[in-house]
């Protein structure tokens, strides 16, 4: 028996994590209880795309959409909706802007945002069945035009619609038609430009394949309006299916008398021929296209005369793009005014966009003009795969430009895009994530243009060649700043002096990437570094390039594979003196770029690192060779990862280094913030102890400003000072009640816990914030016996600035995370507990960071009673607390002035790094900062050294056969303790086995190996 209703439950990844499974079992139970299992189907589906309000449920046949459904709601839905037919309003989706309740799935933005006019028949009718086109209202517009209208009325209707050319330039279609209609000539032509050359645009192909009759009808209407009886469709040879279907459609139209003589018994005759392109991008330019139809080389000519006066075979001609023509029948049938209701003042109607690149829902969407770019990419496109970071979107192909995250709110119109240095073009949107190098992208487009330049004019032919050479030089790491200047100069010249649109717009990708991503050009030129890991001549291997400290990953994996663990560790210690620490806490920048990810998944680098690090208690014999003492003294302030790393490298270079530390023990945040269930104290102590044996002197319980000032240290003979005291100033919300007992700053709480204090937190603990510190606070609170620990974060899971694995682990241990809420006030309750007032938020417009900014929902306050509130919203550096005397010259407007790359400051003998410079970051970034500062200090104190050992990479001395077949193997997994074992403060993760380490290392594709 067929079911009378269907309950669709979203089982997309996000909904599952918000509880689809338990909702499903609740529904199963309720349906069984009411004997409805035969009548009602319970169906789990893929992602419905409304992840923010999951778990979501749709009930058919009505299409009612429920959001945030909890197991307890199943009873009400079954009893009210399915039994009595009354919908449950309480669970309706609320429209973010208005709070309007929306019940039907078609009413929701995700589905409603699209408005299909040009694509009205695509995916609906059989494209090669003319009858289905007619059944959907096809050829009615042509019939009405021919029998009920005058040509001038048709032109007027198109002018009223405000339709602009969808091929790129956006010239008003009605004006084009009017100009051609006014010309007096026996012969005129209508040409459909289907030479869809912009890489990344495929709406024309889709229209020709999916609804060819709409193009034929649009062309015939145009022919009637301007007095032409011959049309040409110029299609790319790369679209065989489009050509085939269009040919069938033309023949069918001829058979029915919709093309040919005296159509609809009028005096109007019209026919269409197809002309196939032959692979020349420039033929998309209208004058070049006409030359190509004439059988010539597709070279452009100067305008005027415009095609409307002197076009194909020197006759008046209208050239329209496929999408433009597909809109015409709708405009004639429904009236220009109806069409003009959509869109913005100057950009009317809808536009089809092709979504491609790094976006989840690749494909075609048609939306009213003026929709924000971010909405197209995130609401319709579904965001970026694998939750990678959005970087930019390229619009308009090789003639267009890119739009970075800070402009995601821009409404997409013909006027707004040029202001950002882009153009509408044909509407191809290539979405790019963090793995795209913008210099390489500019190089790619320049290669395209240089190849496609027809050669007729010099600026384009020669200029694009030279620009390509310069870009190749930059990508290869051989360019200077002079090259960049030449590139910019040429870009401007080529744009101003080229003959046709192709040449004039050729420099756009360069100018646009320079405008928004100049720093990437500078990285390539000055640091010979491609952060995206694309420009391969500058990298040893993608993972090495991605690691802030440039640890030679493939080398130590190569040794590990063969069980040569000492050699592996020796390689590691060249670039990072903390193998066991990083084997536990490293966020693994390397694996993000791991090529093995294209197969089964990236290498479990951290697991191997931990294995080889933990093998040895004393590994001093594996350190790089220490140079002879050079007699120079350097002071390091702060014994965190940056300070210790800097001291380590300087000692190896022969310096006499003392590290001054305020706390009783060395380690900084590794000791006093990262909890010991993630990083046991003895592991850290081991690595620091090895360094001390090497010669790093550490003086603890030493406070700068109290025991001595930096000026005192200078007087004591320290020739340079490296400051890395972290980001010590806790940021606190500006709300009432933060001084109440039971309210604690997050880092203070972590520090006290790390010092071994047992803190009474009570049963109910609320943690405010979304970063690592918030997660650590919540898990520590659990370990102090709290029963209900809730993290409150004002954005959503996607925006949390912490590793998703950390969130998952916290949740496994029972921590609850609530999103889109924030603390606005704290009061004391009558019984001595705390009352936290929370306000609800929703996601609003895109902010500068490319994330949707949370905005308050009015009147949504809610009080909660808790025992402890931990405030972990962030912390920042406090340079004033350390720098005094002339060292204060390094502070400007309360902020330290220091280079993130070299650690240098305006004060000659002062260097700085780590969180003290960049704010909260990771251990590996701090280690890298120490490394860079050691180099800067050495360059200043003993100039002349040419090479630093950590900047030199070698292949491991092991067998490697690049020709050997790769056998599939899944990454090794970390053995973990279960949730109950964990709460007794021991390390949650375990070390992998020897076999596991060797096998995992063997998965490395050895990208360092070059034939």
């Amino acid at each position: 028996m067929a079911a009378r209703a269907q309950v669709l439950l979203c089982a997309g990844g996000a909904c599952i994590s918000s509880g689809t499974d338990s909702v499903k079992s609740a529904f199963e139970k309720e349906l069984t209880n009411h004997n409805l299992t035969d009548e009602i189907d319970l169906i789990t589906t893929g992602c419905m795309g409304m992840c923010e309000v999951g778990p979501t449920v749709i009930i058919y046949p009505e299409g009612i959409f429920y959001q945030k459904v909890k197991p307890a709601d199943a009873k009400e839905i079954v009893e009210e909706h399915l039994l009595k037919g009354r919908v449950v309003q309480r669970l309706f989706y609320k429209k973010p802007a208005t709070n309007e309740l929306i019940q039907a799935i078609n009413g929701i933005d995700f589905f409603k945002l699209q408005k299909k006019i040009a694509l009205r028949n695509c995916g609906v009718i059989d494209p090669v069945n003319i009858n289905e086109y007619i059944a959907n209202g096809g050829y009615e517009a042509l019939g009405r035009a021919l029998t009920e209208m005058q040509p001038v009325q048709v032109v007027a209707e198109v002018k009223t619609s405000g339709l602009r050319g969808r091929g790129g330039a956006g010239f008003p279609t009605g004006l084009k038609w009017e100009a051609a209609a006014k010309e007096i000539s026996k012969q005129k032509y209508v040409v459909c430009n289907a030479d869809e050359g912009d890489p990344g645009a495929f709406m024309d192909r889709s229209l020709l394949e999916g609804d060819p009759h709409s193009i034929i009808e649009g062309m015939a209407i145009c022919g009637f309006a301007i007095g032409a009886n011959q049309g040409y469709v110029y299609v790319r040879a790369e679209y065989p299916l489009a050509i085939e279907r269009l040919s069938i459609a033309i023949n069918d139209a001829r058979k029915l008398g919709l093309l040919g003589k005296k159509i609809f018994s009028s005096k109007f005759s019209f026919d269409i021929e197809i002309r196939m392109g032959a692979g020349a991008f420039v033929c998309g330019e209208e004058t070049a296209l006409m030359h190509s139809i004439e059988g010539k080389r597709g070279e452009p000519r100067p305008k005027p005369p415009f095609p409307a006066q002197k076009g194909l075979f020197d006759k008046p001609t209208v050239l329209n793009n496929v999408e433009t023509l597909a809109n015409i029948p709708y405009i004639i049938t429904n009236g220009g005014a109806e069409y003009a209701k959509l869109g913005t003042e100057k950009s009317k109607g809808t536009k089809v966009f092709a979504l491609a690149g790094d976006v989840n829902n690749t494909g075609l969407v048609e939306v009213p003009m003026g929709m924000p770019m971010g909405s197209i990419i995130f609401d319709l496109g579904g965001g970026i795969p694998k939750d990678k970071k959005f970087k930019a979107v390229q619009i308009g192909g090789p003639s267009g430009g890119c739009i970075p995250q800070e402009h995601l709110n821009t409404p997409v119109t013909y006027e707004s895009l040029p202001a950002l240095g882009a153009i509408m073009g044909s509407g191809g949107l290539i979405v790019m994530n963090e793995d795209t190098c913008m210099v390489d992208l500019a190089r790619y487009f320049m290669e395209f243009i240089a190849e496609e330049s027809c050669g007729k004019c010099t600026p384009c032919r020669v200029g694009t060649r030279i620009m390509l050479d310069l870009l190749n030089k930059i990508c290869a790491g051989r360019a200077t700043m002079q090259d960049l200047e030449r590139l910019e100069l040429l870009a401007n010249t080529v744009g101003k002096t080229s003959l046709c649109g192709l040449g004039q717009s050729a420099p756009n990708p360069v100018l646009s990437t320079l405008r928004y991503f100049r720093h990437e050009y500078l990285d390539h030129i000055n640091d010979k570094k491609c952060a995206a890991g694309v420009c391969s001549t500058m990298m040893w291997a993608p993972c090495v390039n991605a690691c802030p400290a440039n640890v030679n990953v493939p080398a130590y994996l190569g040794y590990t594979k063969y069980g040569r663990f000492d050699d592996a560790l020796r390689v590691h210690l060249r670039n990072n003196p903390f193998p066991s620490v990083c084997g536990r806490v490293c966020p693994q920048w390397c694996t993000v770029k791991c090529r093995r990810d294209d197969l089964e998944g990236p290498l479990a680098v951290r697991a191997v690192k931990r294995y080889i690090g933990d093998l040895r208690e004393d590994y001093r014999d594996l350190y790089p060779v220490k140079e002879k003492p050079n007699g120079k003294k350097v002071a390091v302030i702060g014994a965190g990862p940056a300070g210790l790393s800097c001291a380590y490298y300087l000692v190896l270079l022969g310096y006499d280094v003392t590290v001054f530390e305020k706390q009783p023990e060395a380690g900084g945040l590794m000791r006093y913030a990262i909890p010991d269930y993630r990083l046991p104290r003895k592991v850290l102590a081991k690595e620091i102890h090895n360094m001390e044996k090497l010669g790093v002197k550490i003086q603890t319980n030493f406070t700068i400003g109290k025991d001595k000032t930096l000026v005192d240290l200078r007087k004591d003979g320290f020739e340079s000072i490296f400051v890395s005291v972290g980001a010590g100033r806790e940021l606190l919300p500006k709300i009432g009640g933060i001084d109440l007992p039971g309210v604690l700053p997050g880092t203070k709480f972590l520090e006290r816990a790390a010092k071994g204090e047992q803190i009474k937190v009570g049963n109910d603990v609320m943690v405010i914030g979304g970063g690592d510190a918030a997660i650590d606070c919540s898990r520590i609170a659990q370990r102090f016996g709290a029963k209900n620990v809730t993290i409150v974060y004002r954005r959503t899971r996607k925006e949390m600035p912490t590793n998703p694995i950390e969130i998952r682990e916290a949740e496994v241990e029972g921590v609850k995370v609530e999103f889109l809420e924030n603390l606005i006030a704290i009061k004391q309750s009558a019984n001595g507990r705390l009352i936290a007032t929370l306000k609800k938020y929703r996601l609003g417009e895109f902010d500068k960071s490319g994330r949707r900014a949370p905005e308050e929902i009015p009147n949504s306050d809610e009080d909660r009673e808790v025992d402890t509130i931990l405030l972990a919203i962030g912390h920042k550096p406090d340079p004033g607390s350390i720098l005094s005397g002339d060292y204060e010259n390094a502070i400007k407007d309360g902020t330290l002035v220091a280079s993130e790359k070299t650690g240098t400051t305006p004060v000659e003998d002062l260097f700085a790094g780590g969180d003290f410079v960049v704010g909260p970051s990771t251990v590996i970034e701090a280690i890298a900062a120490g490394q860079h500062a050691a180099k800067s200090i050495d360059k200043k104190l003993i100039p002349g050294r040419k090479e630093y050992f950590w900047e030199k990479f070698d292949l491991p001395a092991v067998d490697f056969d690049p020709e050997k077949e790769i056998t599939e193997a899944l990454p090794v997994e970390f053995p973990m303790l279960n949730a109950t074992e964990r709460l007794i403060s021991v390390e949650v993760e375990k070390t992998i086995t020897k076999e596991g380490a060797c096998r995992e290392a063997g998965r490395c594709l050895r990208c360092d190996y070059k034939v």
């Binding site: 995916g123 009718i125 059989d126 009858n131 059944a135 009615e140 889709s206 609809f264 494909g363």
Partner: protein, 118 residues
Amino acid sequence: MKSLDELRKIKEDVKKSMEMRSGGQRVKVVIGMGTCGIAAGARDTMKAFMETLDAEKLSDVAVTATGCAGFCEREPVVDVEVHGQKPVRYAKVDGEAVKKIVKQHIIGGNVVQELVFA
């Protein structure tokens, strides 16, 4: 084509015959056959439908093609419309999926949950 009336007559006739067809044909299967669909294997999907329907000796199912509906990522996309019910859209329909859709949905009357496009 002589007149608008002639066109409208075709329109009505086709509409009627399309309705009659879905009256006679209990089920309509529409396969997305744009370049994306075909590249993702829509031709094999179409073939699999023909073969499976043949093997199951079903003669009341009409199989037709349409263009790209814009969901290139999830091609081949197939709409299955059982007469009198809302059409169900399936995504990434391969040979195995076709067998399931025919057996479970077209014959059995139950939507194949895991394949539903949503």
